[in-house]
Symmetry: D2
Subunit: 301 residues, 4 copies
């Protein structure tokens, strides 16, 4: 199929490559020209602007956005809208808030432009392994895009699905990431306990390797844990600082909105916040209070 990819970073670039390898015609545009040049060698038709990209595509145009969520998506849709025609398709493959997706779909529906949200998992390994994709949108357009999903997926009829109407793809991906937070934190805690159990002198890389085969907790994140510990068994030089990119927060807010208690996903998010606050006001107040009532010495900063 023919499509235009906007955003050629770690995700968009690799996805374009996987599509090109399978014979799809991919035009691409990115703000940075570096990856564009590399992808041109692999068959990508480079565009100099969003307008240029649109002009390179024949209707029914398919535009796939693989850009940071939030404002960039709104801005790009704003540029695209007057350039597109009825029946053209915009796909948002990034980590957008599903509520934004619902709003955007409505705006685009008024212009008869199809909007499809593709929650995409797989990270930097997707080029080789394929991507897991949760697709939201109308039946007709999703069927039409099937060849793209089949190419990007890990195998025929595997790892992707049409999960519901527009919004359902990003919703499901949000939950995916919330679960990811919880699983990562579970491994993190387990390995931390072993790290502190000095008497057994455990080789944490070895333990991770053992668990990779036959254990109840085998997983891809465990494979990555083993890889990280092989390279750097003591995790030397890595700051205990964990970023978050939004989906965890949205999952926590959604759970509360739905009156569902999700303590583990929630605590996983809070742990990340905490990893970035080395000067906790709360802890200071507790230290001051212990001094007030018990005369306990406060540690000085």
């Amino acid at each position: 199929m023919e499509l235009g990819m906007i955003g050629l970073g770690r995700m968009g670039g690799a996805m374009s490559q996987r599509l090109l390898q399978a014979g799809h015609q991919v035009s691409g545009y990115a703000r940075s020209t570096d990856t564009m040049k590399q992808l041109e060698e692999k068959g990508l038709v480079a565009a100099s602007s969003v307008e240029d990209l649109v002009s390179k595509l024949k209707p029914q145009r398919i535009i796939w956005l693989m850009i940071p969520s939030g404002k960039p998506v709104d801005e790009t849709i704003g540029i695209l809208m007057p350039l597109l025609e009825a029946d053209d398709v915009i796909i948002d493959g990034g980590n957008s808030d599903y509520k934004d997706t619902l709003r955007r779909a409505e705006t685009l529906r008024a212009r008869q432009i199809h909007y499809v949200d593709v929650g995409t998992s797989g990270g930097v390994w997707g080029l080789e392994n394929g991507y897991s994709m949760m697709v939201g949108g109308d039946d007709g357009v999703v069927s039409h895009l099937e060849p793209l999903f089949e190419t990007l997926a890990p195998g025929p009829n595997k790892g992707w699905g049409h999960v519901g109407p527009c919004g359902a793809g990003h919703f499901t991906k949000m939950i995916h990431n919330g679960i990811e937070y919880g699983i990562m934190q579970a491994y993190g805690e387990g390995f931390a306990i072993m790290h502190h159990k000095e008497e057994f002198k455990l080789d944490l890389h070895q333990v991770a390797e053992i668990w990779r085969y036959g254990s109840v907790i085998q997983s891809w994140l465990l494979d990555l844990t083993a890889a990280a510990l092989e390279k750097n068994p003591g995790l030397e030089g890595i700051a205990p600082y964990v970023a978050d990119s939004g989906e965890g927060r949205w999952t926590v807010a959604e759970a509360i909105d739905l009156n569902v208690a999700a303590p583990v996903i929630t605590l996983s998010l809070l742990q990340r916040l905490q990893s970035r606050d080395s000067d906790s006001f709360s802890d200071k107040l507790l230290s001051a209070l212990r001094n007030q009532f018990g005369g306990h010495a406060m540690k000085k900063e």
Copy 2:
């Protein structure tokens, strides 16, 4: 090799079978004779008592315990001790508390009996897939037992390892189970949020299947989640009641002893406790307090 298996339940029975299939000579004893009879057809030499089992083995005897942790292990070791000779080997493959293992090892060391702890993961799927085994014990004896571990493991030189001295095997398995609690709870919460998001009419089995291929959260527990949801998409008839068998509690206690904060593993345990307390005194008191200060109506039981 020749060994005697005590305990022929879900785990011990399947392990015996896997060992027999590979040509090892396995004598076995279990309190219930049912599985013994089935295993006899597969080559097991059935013993009528622990004493009988010991008598069937030539020194250096290898006895593998696959029985419930706690008292049963102490009792069985108590029976075995006078029957065994110096250099014989007892393996505890169950989910014993590693502190019990340290204590037992010391007692047996005084009698020159080797003690080896094998944290064993794999559940009911181990017969087919092999077991993940974390082995604790002295170098010599663990080397000697290698052919058994290689047979039980999922593949050559995979899924098992000698992780440290006696106790380290059960310690590592305890952590494994703590992590397992956290991962299960993360999936549980994520699927619960999706279950309550009625507007998208998600097919939870489909979502689980999508995630199995290419996603960051692919895992064996996700495979099982997909299988459970395929059979029973609404989880009808299953009570929201989650048992626990001890390792989670030990992990939480160990983390606190080591001054390691493990909020996710801890909350996973507390969630299980809560699932079994449908009559929370704390919740009742909160309801009473809200009535006291705000005049809010209390729900009646």
Copy 3:
């Protein structure tokens, strides 16, 4: 001073009474006429509608809203706006989301109507003990209202303060309620543990009474706990079901927005959600998973 009170429920009714007792002239309107009649005997001038209430007041009018947060506040302000003149004052003494307060203040500022937010704590005991009030608004108008705050407060120059610009009063009250959730949950858990420690046959009312005098954890909520346990030591007939009225959720969301980890306030909210979900999908899935990997029996519903 002269003021008009809209909402004469548990809070607004008692506040009107306290104001009347101190000699203020209070006109009042409420949808239900029951309390209005009782308050008329104590000097309240009853109004038949919001319009009637406004007509009874001389400019610079002071209207105090003591009504449920959300839509009712917006609707009432919508009715008031055309009836009021420049320099009139609307006070929102309810538990509004401070973000709504910021929005409303802006709308009213455009009409030169003053808006003052008063986070009010004290519950049904405020009539007798006075109210704790966190006031947000412009300096001039807050000074002008001082006689009202002094009357409602527990004592001269005590228990109320001008904490910041409009929004700061409701923000501070929101935090107050978040803390309240945490404290209540802490007592709830402590008493639940004692309730389950059957061997000591503790008299929980006695324990609460002991702690009320001289202990580090003495508090008003403990006084109420003691009162609740005196009346009903086993909390018989009270369902383990805890409602929440919004401020806890907002506090949790605010903490996450500010990147502040607030695990205890957060978990207190989740506990309330959980108290209302006796059919946890997550717990069911965990039970199904344990069955899948370990062959453990599932409890039937």
Copy 4:
């Protein structure tokens, strides 16, 4: 009454003083002679050793221990045991683990020495305000000691009680401290959120003062919070490092043993552990994992 106090630190010294002021005859012994000298001026009879202390008392001797829990208590009881006679009384007023108390009571019962556990709250303010005391022990001996409790308590027949058999006093005090952890953490989090809400420029000391009068969350710990924030509004120079002295851990362990979910008390403990671990291995692993799957940059140490 006549009694011997062992341990004259912040707690034991102040309690001796309060007893002396009320006319009781107090002999005292402490390893450090500093406070002994000060107390001699107030009427204390100083002893040069435990033996000397015992020799100064007439049977039925009453010895009150106010020393660190754990080994010091066992050692002191070890010294006392041969020196005491049947019917003498040892009181442990410190923060002992109630399980140790049960064990010690049994040992002493065999020698017909009475053992009474007094969970004591009040901290450095007890001298002035009186102490809250939860007393465990046999009826007869507790009745006999009543004049001491009445003197130490905040007022006649207030703030102390005979809560159950030996062990019940320390058990109840342990729960008291668990609740204390939760309440402190709730305040800490609330004030931290306000501290980070820069747009309102809140004066946290002012807010604490407002809440002290008439609010639902008024408490003694809030009074202390206000005092701490008055002295040092930004908590400058205080490290975000919170110690713990054991009772929180015991409460968490006890809750789990009793199958009671106590998430808030538990998380309060974990938060303290975390405040002391500025080099979290778990956080490092999460950072490494995010790099592995998403190519996200890791912050360097």
